[in-house]
């Protein structure tokens, strides 16, 4: 194992984060605050309670997940796409590093960044509504698993994309809608039964549900199912990354 290489890639990526601190950290915090103002104040005044917690409190886990998902994908996809775009990838490919080490470096840095961001958003939310976390360790587990899974997913997008447009396409057209329709702002139980069935096809529902359970012990689906789906998606992304490196897809051909 080339630990020094992992460390070099990880620290290089984190340095990029600190260099772009404003857009990396500040802008998601601002947009989350805006969600609170719009959803919490405007809608929250009409929906007073969802399953025993106030609406403002109810949406906190969903908001954190929303940012963690989108930021994980954005960080990781950009992290690997940029060296491809400017050509510096040559050095990574010619270095004595295994694919596994490359992934640990890039995905680890992207996930770290979005976990930090998730915790900052959580702290920001704490300024608006009272928070209570029933199962902090489970909360962290779901946070880390989601950040890693979606950073892997972003890594795949970054390798697949051969232009900035493609880089934006999946996050814009697939991930954002799935997140908004995944129960960030409402409980799936509030939907008519037909829509509820359709919603259960959305993988993001399971992530948000599990995460919310760790806060308030309320969930749309069972916690075991949430965990299972998250791990399943993680495994799928890993398999995909393994295939990419085995074939040299978009990297060595």
């Amino acid at each position: 194992m080339n630990w020094r290489a992992i460390q070099a890639i990880y620290l290089f990526e984190m340095a990029r984060t600190w260099r772009t601190l404003l857009q990396s950290i500040v802008s998601p915090v601002v947009s989350t605050s805006l969600y609170f103002v719009v959803f919490g104040a405007a809608i929250g005044s009409r929906i007073t309670e969802v399953e025993g917690v106030s609406y403002g409190t109810f949406i906190v886990p969903g908001l954190v997940m929303l940012s963690v998902l989108t930021q994980s994908i954005a960080n990781a996809s950009f992290g690997i796409y940029f060296p491809k775009f400017v050509g510096t990838i040559y050095e990574i490919l010619s270095a004595p590093v295994s694919y596994f080490e490359i992934v640990v470096g890039y995905v680890g840095a992207a996930a770290t960044k979005s976990i930090i961001l998730g915790l900052i958003i959580l702290a920001t939310a704490g300024l608006f509504v009272p928070l209570h976390i029933h199962h902090p360790w489970w909360m962290l587990t779901f946070l880390v698993l989601t950040a890693v899974t979606f950073s892997l997913f972003g890594f795949i997008i970054g390798i697949w994309a051969d232009g900035f447009e493609k880089l934006q396409m999946i996050p814009m057209l697939v991930v954002t809608p799935l997140t908004f329709l995944g129960g960030s702002f409402y409980s799936v139980n509030m939907l008519p039964s037909g829509w509820r069935t359709i919603t259960l096809l959305n993988p993001v529902v399971y992530l948000i549900s599990g995460f919310r359970w760790s806060f308030y012990e309320i969930a749309d689906v069972s916690v075991a199912l949430s965990l299972g789906m998250t791990l399943g998606f993680l495994a799928a992304c890993m398999a995909m990354v393994w295939w990419i490196f085995r074939t040299g897809y978009r990297l060595k051909n």
Binding site: N2, R19, V86, G87, Y90, I92
Partner: protein, 307 residues
């Protein structure tokens, strides 16, 4: 001398069906400077990319220091420093950070003294805290060389190191390469400047259309280079070379209106003076004469045309 890189039956066909390398066999000797010459699109960069792990080979094998580049890629790649043709740099990083990053990537422990030495050797020391984006093209090129040298490689690939570099800097680059060779580093450089190959290389290989068509010691090539041809146009046609002139090994051309004489410019005497007086004694009168030298360029061009 033992070979440090051994390429056997290497081929590369790109997804588009383009055959970039066609059954390449090549051995690079330890400690030599090997120049790979070829026109644009000949396969120079693909060959280097394959040896360094950037391009997957379609068939064939490569060993570096006895390590297979696929099954034993760590040991093989750790020996190699690569300076690609294009200026790929992390614009916003500082020189110091980007060079240190390379060392870490190649698994070497931190060694600020070595990085300092590399930067000083390449006259980059006063720029160590500058962002790369602020540097000139020639400096960026040197930053890329510094990155390649940061992990103390035994083999250095320089892909078109002096393309678009001014004369001053080119001479400086040659100096660096020679110093490295003295330190025991094997150097493979690609170029399409013939003079660069002449100046630098111990051996020269010519590649075109994905095939190596010649590998020879530079000395051997230079011997061919030292040859000059004198062409004499005659006032009157002759049917045969007079026997008295046989030692000169002359040839008749243009239906007896021309005599050609090959001689060695590096020899002590070229024999031209005595030839001319002997010709006059033989009653052959000359109307005009000219000489031409075969350059490496001529050899190169004729080789590439023939293939």
């Amino acid at each position: 001398m033992s070979s440090v890189i051994s390429v056997s039956n290497l081929s590369k066909v790109y997804g588009s069906g383009f055959k970039a390398l066609n059954n390449i066999n090549l051995d690079i000797k330890r400690g030599e400077i090997f120049a790979l010459l070829g026109p644009n699109g000949a396969g120079k960069t693909t060959l280097i990319g394959t040896i360094c792990g950037i391009v997957n080979p379609t068939s064939g094998s490569v060993t570096v220091g006895g390590h297979d580049i696929i099954s034993d890629f760590r040991a093989a790649r750790a020996m190699i420093g690569l300076v690609p043709q294009e200026l790929h740099t992390d614009s916003f990083e500082t020189v110091w950070n980007t060079v240190s990053f390379s060392r870490g990537l190649f698994g070497k422990p931190k060694n600020p003294a070595h990085i300092e030495k590399v930067l000083k050797d390449l006259s980059l020391w006063d720029k160590k805290d500058s962002q790369i984006i602020t540097l000139s093209g020639g400096m960026k090129r040197r930053v890329m060389i510094a990155k390649a040298l940061s992990h103390e490689p035994q083999i250095l690939f320089l892909d078109e190191p002096t393309a678009g570099v001014d004369v001053e800097l080119r001479k400086g680059m040659w100096e660096v390469v020679r110093t490295l060779q003295q330190a025991g580093v094997t150097i493979i450089l690609t170029t399409h400047y013939i003079e660069e190959a002449e100046e630098m290389a111990d051996r020269i290989g010519v590649i075109t259309k994905g095939e190596i068509i010649l590998v020879e010691d530079k000395a051997g090539l230079m011997q061919q280079l030292g040859k000059k041809r004198l062409t004499l146009q005659l006032q009157h046609k002759v049917d045969a070379i007079p026997p008295a002139l046989a030692p000169y090994n002359l040839h008749l051309a243009d239906g007896g209106r021309e005599i050609t004489y090959d001689y060695d410019t590096k020899g002590e005497r070229t024999g031209i003076t005595s030839l001319l007086s002997d010709l006059r004694n033989a009653g052959i009168r000359i109307s005009d004469l000219d000489t031409e030298q075969s350059s490496l360029e001529d050899i190169f061009v004729s080789l590439v045309r023939k293939s």
